[in-house]
Assembly symmetry: C2
């Protein structure tokens, strides 16, 4: 019920103003009640609206009760962009540079050196696993409270070089609409990402309307410490869990405890999560973003180092999963700069 | 908002009928709107209602916005009884006996032998750590789906020897009221238990109105497997996380990602969780159930093997946390047999 109530924020008002001025022509093509105005009509959009209609029809054969309406989304490349390197990699590089300014000796060795020297070849090769390891090394000794503050400061100020806008404003507008639409139909929306869980939590509520406890991600280990009466958790230089590939269904079970009925990914790292969602009785919806839009975003799939989409693309075709073409299925890719947040996110 | 709507279930109607017939005298002592009728008036109850009033007063100095109203509850000894052994220990023993019936050789060795022979001395010594290890050994090779079904069957049929009622009907009535009351005030309620997360999820929604993703507990590791197109998770004989003592705040950070504003425990295993909750700015409420009622339940604290309450009791007194006397603060301990579930739990 709560999600049906639209919170009219300053940004919502701004969005309405912007749309009224510049977007009226496009909006006029859609029925007034279209919940997904940034999605072009077509098979992908129809697969979503049909699915939602069927699982919410109380007397229908595919009805899913609200408590079981679990939807999981990958983050990098699915909810926001991930090129030319995972945004968290840039966050990490910025952190290393800040450390270098304070202590030159600390960054005389690899992999810190590569980052400080902006060795793009080495940086581009970093997988999510490397990032998680580097994060652990870089942030060991910090409290989780201090880390959260650092991540929040970065996300509120760092800009993407190509688009010259905040990274958090590179969340995909069609996906923000989809998250709102699902919550409006009593779905619980979760992020299940290879990225660091504490990094994503720094902006998930603000950008996606997803609260911290609905974010599952990679993690480092922490240690409980009492400093007088002040209890803190200190980050250790030890990996906890890598939430990628087979780690995604494993962590869905550990954190969510239910099989999703909808899963949305964009790479082979999401394949086990899609298979896990598909592998249960009842109606299920599996979706993949296909990055085929070099003009508005990027075009990459089978050969990409970041966001490689190969086996999952084949399996999607074989099993009839929905492949979303960014070029054809999305009318708009990014929101206006003032709109880059979930409509129903609390202020 | 959603939680303010009472779902009138068959059981709610039964409860109303029962109360109307037998409890009218007691209820007449309370204002019609008392959200905690099973709590006697006194300092403990007042600490709860004062806290809720203060954090929900929108223009008050202690206001906490709904998104930050995180309440965590230990399970064994806090939400339901835990004597003479943790109920999950009995579940485990029943599983071992079922295995023995199928394969006598398998249970010729310890610790299985002790359980099959009902060696109460050995069983009573099992801590939550032992139970988690035994669970892993007993259930390795099962899928998580099969385990969930087994646990559900047990919880729907197994009875406690002293009370001759289902274990799940030994949830504390005052705590069921408290969970409802908190949710009615836009709190999110979580279980943070040393017990096995998948075991508790088999009944948390039905009994407490707490969905699977709001249960944090001890866990074994699982492995993703594809059986044709059927993706499953198989339980491995390896421990994942022990969610007890310092493990509780560590897992609160990993799973919930926010500091709670209310924590309720009953033993020294809950002390770090209480300290973590206390160790943040703003109004916080820390509570401890003190089992001092041998007549209606049990009386135990500093010397008990199960639910030992010693250091936490001292710290509660020093720091002004709320110690709830079962004998004095709870008008009723257990619900009527037909009432043993959360009022707002879906059917």
């Amino acid at each position: 019920m709560r999600n049906l109530i639209l919170v009219v924020t300053r940004r919502t008002l701004l969005s309405i103003t912007v749309l009224a001025g510049f977007g009226a022509g496009a909006l006029a093509q859609q029925p007034a009640t279209d919940p997904l105005p940034s999605w072009n009509d077509g098979a992908a959009k129809k697969s979503i609206t049909d699915f939602v209609a069927r699982v919410t029809r109380q007397d229908g054969p595919d009805f899913v009760k609200p408590a079981d309406r679990i939807a999981v989304f990958d983050n990098d490349g699915t909810l926001w962009a991930e090129q030319p390197i995972y945004f968290q990699g840039t966050f990490l590089a910025d952190r290393v540079r800040a450390m270098a300014a304070l202590n030159a000796g600390l960054v005389s060795r690899q992999p810190f050196k590569a980052i400080v020297k902006n060795d793009r070849e080495a940086i581009t090769k970093m997988g999510e696993h490397d990032i998680a390891e580097l994060l652990a090394a870089t942030h060991a000794g910090m409290t989780t409270d201090a880390f959260a503050q650092t991540a929040k400061q970065w996300i509120d100020s760092a800009k993407h070089p190509r688009f010259n806008r905040l990274y958090k404003q590179l969340a995909y507008r069609p996906q923000l609409e989809l998250l709102d639409y699902l919550r409006g139909n009593d779905f619980k929306t979760f992020i299940v990402s290879g990225g660091g869980v504490e990094f994503i939590r720094a902006f998930s509520q603000d950008v996606y309307g997803i609260p911290p406890q609905q974010v599952v991600g990679s993690s480092g280990q922490t240690q409980f410490e009492l400093r007088g009466n002040n209890a803190v958790l200190v980050k250790l230089p030890k990996l906890g869990s890598i939430d990628d590939k087979e780690g995604k269904p494993v962590n869905i079970n550990l954190h969510i405890g239910q099989r999703p009925v909808l899963a949305f990914g964009n790479s082979d790292g999401d394949l086990p999560m899609l298979q896990y969602t598909a592998g249960a009785p009842g109606l299920r919806l599996m979706l993949i973003v296909h990055h085929d839009d070099a003009e508005r975003e990027w075009a990459y799939d089978r050969q990409s180092k970041i966001g490689k989409l190969d086996r999952a693309l084949d399996e999607a075709k074989t099993r009839g999963w929905t492949v979303v073409s960014m070029k054809n299925d999305w009318r708009t890719v990014f929101p206006g700069v003032e709109e880059g947040r979930a409509v129903d996110a609390p202020k």
